[in-house]
Amino acid sequence: MKAKDKQAYLEEYEFLKKKGKPFFPYAVMKDSTMALIVVGVIIAMSIILGAEQGPKADPTTTTYVPRPEWYFFFLFELLRVIKPPELVPVATIGIPTICMVLLLLLPFYDRGPERHPGRRPIATTAGCLTIVAMAYLTYLGAIGGSPTEIEMKVPPQYEAGKEVVAGSGCLACHKIGENGGDLGPDLTHIGSQLPRAAIIRSVEIGPAEMPAFRDLPPKKLNQLSDFLASLD
């Protein structure tokens, strides 16, 4: 913004301010109405939605699927949308950091004198796109599971086993379908490569770098191996 524009703005603003009303009582009235609404909504949410506790934290469980508070869903979703492991740091820290820096420095690179949203096409479009993208990612996060989910269509009898695998952290090292890392062998077709008993043995013993999952209850171990043995 040039000095001339700055001066023009200050002049114009002074006029508008003179035409305005005093903060008290006019703006104070609106603000206090809003305050009542805010407190009212919070009280209503507290009464209707409550504050139930979940089960107590148990660091030894391996089957819990973590979910953040809903306003972090979009971050979680970024993690899921971007699959290749070498891009994960970019997704989780890079993109949010870049967005934050862009947001912080906004007044320093958008310096035009125009303020009307209709006459700032780039800013307005960028703003709307950001809102749509965040809303979409939040929506995906709301309907989807956590990043430890396996996006694979399986027959209903194997759903339970899929959940066990997803919740046990196997994806940290194994790839199943679209998801997971590549430290250990790809398990997408493990059913055709290993018999069910051998799968169970691997899970119980934990070959090489793989940890032994001895704490898995027998029922879960059964579901897990049913699911893995079905992958061919």
């Binding site: 002074e14 035409k19 009303k21 506790q53 934290a57 993690l79 989780t92 320093f108």
Partner: protein, 296 residues
């Protein structure tokens, strides 16, 4: 009447002739026919009591000179066209106040240790009078505060309110946004149930994947090889002391600038130009409490 003395001279109504320091001392119209009665003791006492608040305020004002600033702030003009979108900032402020008040209540019963945290929340929910209600207000209030901040940011963005001369207020706002999100993240661990525990594990690990500072950041947050007692007390201190202090200070700076610079008018409201454009210096002279920095 004495309260008038708190209003700066230009804003005060001129005293009517015959009115001295206050109406109670004014001489009756006809002194001879009705000689002044001596006020009874009770009358004098009630008079004194009525003046007490004004006396206290005057005492404080003499020592702080705050009244000039306060009346200036209260009676400053907000520009033409100011609408309901302009309440979103103060709505965020009220949500923050609700969080602060309910948070103090929760802190009275909460124990930040991995063995007792969960039980202390159960205690709040089940035994403390209105405990679950206040806990619920704190929990849902956080969501509302985040929503309100985003809406407020959207308003200032689309109205172009971040432009000259309010750039700095935008920057402070973004820092407030980051601090509020950090507040939400650190608060999420405190109930120490499965959900909060595992979400924090994942959150800390995500931090750890970041370039350069990532691993250090996650080590700092976890405060040990595993998420445990030290992590919890660290999150608690950040959530309870560090961030609220920083947020309060920054809200103070944010609001100071709002008062100092004035709020924008909606961008579609234009001033009808006077026939002959008045020079700025003249405008400035007439403007009360115009804090905008001088042009150039």
């Amino acid at each position: 009447m004495k309260l008038d003395s708190l209003i700066p001279a230009p804003l005060r109504k001129p005293a009517k002739p015959g009115e001295g320091n206050g109406s109670k001392n004014a001489a009756p119209a006809d002194l001879k026919t009705s000689p002044p009665e001596r006020p009874s003791d009770t009358e004098r006492l009630t008079d004194k009591a009525k003046d007490a608040p004004a006396d206290v305020l005057a005492w404080v004002d003499q020592r702080t000179a705050a009244s000039g600033f306060l009346t200036g702030m209260l009676y400053r003009k907000v520009p033409k066209g100011t609408n309901w979108f302009y309440t979103l900032g103060s709505a965020a402020l009220f949500a923050f106040i609700v969080q602060a008040v309910t948070g103090v209540f929760l802190a009275m019963f909460y124990t930040p240790s991995p063995t007792e945290a969960y039980a202390s929340i159960s205690h709040i929910n089940n035994d403390v009078f209105l405990g679950q209600f206040v806990h619920g207000m704190h929990k849902w209030g956080s969501s509302l505060m985040v929503i309100l901040i985003f809406l407020h940011m959207g308003r200032t963005f689309f109205f172009g309110a971040y432009k000259y001369p309010r750039e700095l207020n935008w920057v402070i706002g973004v820092v407030l946004l980051i601090l509020t999100m950090t507040m939400a993240f650190t608060g999420y661990l405190l109930p120490f149930d499965q959900r909060s525990f595992w979400a924090s594990v994942v959150g800390i690990n995500i931090n750890g994947t970041g370039p350069v500072v990532g691993p250090y950041l996650s080590d700092f947050l976890r405060a040990g090889p595993e998420l445990g007692a030290t992590t919890l007390s660290r999150f608690y201190a950040i959530h309870m002391l560090l961030l609220p202090g920083a947020i309060i200070a920054l809200i103070g700076a944010h609001l100071y600038l709002v008062v100092k610079l004035g709020t924008t008018a909606p961008p579609w409201v234009r001033a009808e130009k006077p026939k002959i454009a008045a020079p700025v210096s003249q405008l400035d002279a007439g403007a009360e409490g115009n804090g905008a920095p001088p042009p150039r």
